[in-house]
Subunit: 175 residues, 2 copies
């Protein structure tokens, strides 16, 4: 199964504006890109905080073809769980990736946050990383990786979503 990390980022490497959860700072073009991109995945993994920042929109959209897995230490607390659509697990990325493979899923989006991106890269599970770079700087916010780490990538593609916003698509290199 392919695993791709997707994130929107300020030009100084913040995934949130200060301590405000979610990607409200991202452009309309990025939101559209993200929704379109999600349709190319048959499953996704997100941490509990990442899920909660988007929970309202996810529940409003209702169940779709993509199996969404949320990692949390308290899965029983989420009564909105629905098998094959929205599931909650007290497990790590590696275990859930193995489970998704067993269940026949082939293309998984990793939606954050910091802990999951770092775990997936450190374990060599991440195949690609798509980073949208918005023309803002926040100084403080959630970061992509919990360091110190040293992950290497190669740039596969750079796509302009507008005159101001680029998506940089990286492939993970070993070592």
């Amino acid at each position: 199964m392919q695993l791709l990390g997707i994130a929107a980022m300020s030009l100084d490497g913040c995934l949130t504006c200060h301590d405000r959860p979610g990607t409200g700072f991202a452009s309309a073009e990025d939101h559209a890109f993200f929704q379109d991109a999600l349709q190319t995945f048959d499953c996704s993994i997100a941490g509990r905080r990442t899920y909660e920042a988007a929970r309202e929109a996810i529940l409003r959209a209702g169940p779709g073809p993509r199996l969404q897995i949320v990692l949390t230490s308290t899965p029983g607390r989420f009564t909105e769980a629905r098998t094959d659509h929205l599931e909650f697990r007290n497990a790590g990325v590696a275990e859930v990736a193995r489970e998704l493979t067993r269940r026949g899923r082939t293309r998984c989006a990793l939606l954050g946050g910091t802990g999951l991106y770092t775990e997936a890269c450190a374990l060599g599970l991440l195949d690609e990383l798509w980073v949208t770079i918005e023309p803002v700087a926040f100084g403080e916010g959630v970061r992509m990786f919990r360091g110190p780490v040293e992950f290497r990538f190669e740039l596969a593609e750079s796509v302009a979503l507008s005159g101001n916003t680029l998506v940089l698509k990286y492939r993970r290199l070993g070592g």
Copy 2:
């Protein structure tokens, strides 16, 4: 006088690899770009730590046409000072920018670090920001801005230095 910030960054927003000073992580293409770019400036401003990370190379290169100003609380300690070439000041970015303007300089590179980028942006002194994005992630390192801030830019140009490395040239927007 135009003031342009220049920096090399990991894809997760680190200006250094962990606590190692300098831009040793940057590609050969970025080093060449940076040296070429510097020749288009008649002056530059750097903080003391940024200067010290590059000091050996600067002294080896010898005096050039660009007036280099280093901001430090202890200017008297730097015996390598040479008027009109390498000067040390106990002053802020705004004061030094005014002085450079009075001395007829027209195009100044701001070379970091965090404190100077933040000060120049917060005071509305920075006209452009050129960020080289390298295909590595470090999790920890010097960051571009000390937050929380909220600076807005527009993307003026994106230049590929190689298949893996882009320079994003931003113009600062007010507000």
